[in-house]
Symmetry: C2
Subunit: 394 residues, 2 copies
């Protein structure tokens, strides 16, 4: 039977793009992993999490395993709100929804906001999974360039003015990762953050602010756009994946009430009670803030290290971004097709993500690649970069 005939036209269209996760390299088991945005194994507080789980189940018995009823589960939202305050985000007139990672929050955002005719604005380059998600709802995109200060907001302003003047469709939303951007590692500077918010108000669009790496910022550093949002323009997404553990799937959104109500309406997977309760118990009873400081300092060292390794091994024609933190660095290799380079790299033992996956038009990214410095050890990073460099000498 031709099963596809049961799918509605919109689903057919979304399926044309090919399955998700195509960006993921298929490394051999012994490959040095410079592709994955995984926390370092030592950055996951395994012992504390297991202690939390044990104490929780001793104290609350079956409750964290039920749909509802666990006091710790209920507590999670309060603790995440406290966390939002640290990032300068106050919940007045806003609501929070806890989601399965910020990925689900982004999916729900796209789902409740996008009509297939809507235009979505993206940074160029942008997070590859965000492209995958938005493509399920629209195929109407516009990309705006970045420089060393993040999204080029002046360029954006000019284009918006041009569009308005010439009655060309304006974007309904812009998706941005202003803090420790994925894939470039760049952070948007403060004046651009406020300028972007003004543009949203002026041209009546929404800002989807993905702050998945924001938990790695120091207190007061790089305040989220949401922290200035007086106009209900920002849908703020964050996550514990980079600072506790991605496998617990704890993400959240802070957004205007009506937005969160709509997201809740469509969030049809019930809450992950056990995972929520373990996380809440950990946040409440373990020293999360010391843990985050430690993790932050470890990643900073690793960032310095990868920059040194790049300087040491890469030919002088190769350039890379100056990340202020996060998990990634973005490398430009003029005249090199990084998709082909990946095949060779895997064969000699190292993986990265070719740049094309971070662009709506893959041609734009063929000379770039994303390196992750979060997961591999220093020795591996060094070796991995040496391997990649060795492929460029031919």
């Amino acid at each position: 039977m031709n099963f596809e005939r049961f799918f509605p036209p919109l689903i057919h269209k979304a399926l044309e793009v090919g399955p998700p996760g195509q960006w993921a390299p298929k490394p051999f088991s012994q490959n040095i992993n410079l592709h994955a945005g995984y926390p370092h194994p030592n950055a996951i507080p395994i012992e504390d999490l297991m202690k939390a789980a044990l104490n929780l189940s001793n104290k609350e018995r079956d409750l964290p395993f039920q749909y509802e009823g666990s006091p710790s589960k209920k507590n999670l939202k309060i603790l995440l709100k406290e966390n939002s305050y640290i990032r300068g985000i106050h919940l007045d007139n806003q609501k929070m929804i806890v989601t399965a990672g910020s990925t689900q929050a982004l999916d729900l955002t796209a789902k409740v906001l996008l009509h297939e005719s809507d235009l979505v604005a993206l940074e160029s380059p942008t997070y590859m999974e965000a492209i995958e998600i938005f493509r399920n709802y629209t195929s109407n995109f516009i990309s705006y360039p970045m420089d060393q200060k993040g999204l080029d907001v002046d360029f954006l302003a000019e284009d918006l003015a041009y569009r308005q003047k010439n009655r060309i469709q304006l974007p309904k939303l812009i998706y941005t990762v202003p803090t420790f951007h994925n894939p470039t590692g760049i952070s948007m500077d403060l004046s651009r953050r406020t300028q972007l918010l003004k543009l949203a108000e002026e041209y009546d669009f929404l800002i989807v602010e993905d702050d998945a790496y924001g938990q790695l910022a120091s207190k007061g550093e790089l305040p989220p756009i949401k922290s200035f949002d007086k106009f209900d323009r920002v849908i703020y997404l964050s996550s514990m994946s980079k600072v506790i553990a991605p496998g617990l799937r704890i993400g959240w959104a802070v957004a205007p009430k009506k937005m969160v109500e709509a997201m809740s309406h469509f969030k049809k997977d019930a809450d992950h009670a056990f995972s929520w309760a373990v996380t809440a118990y950990y946040l409440k009873h373990c020293d999360f803030s010391t843990h985050v400081q430690q993790v932050r300092s470890d990643y900073s060292k690793r960032l310095l290290f990868i920059k040194e390794a790049l300087s040491k091994y890469m030919p002088t024609t190769i350039h890379w971004t100056e990340p202020s933190g996060g998990f990634f660095i973005w490398v430009h290799l003029p005249t090199i097709d990084t998709d082909k380079l990946l095949k060779k790299a895997l064969a000699i033992g190292v993986s990265f993500i070719p740049g094309k996956h971070f662009f709506i038009d893959p041609c734009d990214g063929s000379e770039f690649l994303r390196l992750s410095f979060s997961y591999a050890d220093e020795e591996q990073i060094s070796k991995g970069i040496m391997f990649i460099a060795s492929l460029l000498e031919v």
Copy 2:
């Protein structure tokens, strides 16, 4: 700002229905809970799950806390497939997707199959959360009655023939809970299961078979419709929520390959690595089959007990279904408005779910209520029924 203006028309329409979970009574903390479809606290293998979590984290360290990489996490699908074989379901030409409970599987099913103009057929009554989910995608429903043998398939056949003859829209899918039906507890008999499958083939519709309680059936008992499906007509949903723990959110679907591929395309919450890995470790290293037998026998005893309590306390005008298992029994109280009755019941200390929530047209259900016998202890069940009966005497 009027935020709703950003929502597309389809979302506006879905939001008209009111927020999900409105069916849930708001009991006082000391109320006897006869409303929730929760497993009994003793039926959750807390100690074994915690042992599994500990051994897992000793053995696999950070891996179950990462996005991917845990051998146990990877193992879950294999173990769930074995479980499907026990229910007579073979995976030839079919695929499996693991989801956050069967609720997410149902949401994905609706999402990839339904256009807003599509007609969805339901049993009357049906699972209230299924109504909530389908209403997010269409407002076009037809309900078919049930009797003591489950869905009245002859009635359905007649209506389908009539529709075809008169060129009235046929359903795209029928949603059914054939085994230990929610809310009635009734199981569809074998001949109706095969007859329904024939009708699906004849009138070109799909069957969404929710087997969430099927894990509580004995081996070979009540074979799922999916086990006869030679024509790719059945999307089979199941869950570990009733036999291990709902808070772990382990559900799955078995469906034709193209269907599962489409579901995967839209399942945008990543996998719950830790939860999957703990469940897989538990299934592999603990005695799940003995646990299920024990749980099954406990619920059977509790079913007998609630029937006795109903016989003992209820006036002779009140009747109830004859469940063959599961978590629920369905009570008919002629001339009583069970929505009003709930308010009085909560005030004297017991909760149930008013029948109206299980029907597309709430008027159909006003004289019914659902009692759960899964969660409360025998003494509480007895007391709860006595309380409800006392309200009927006035």
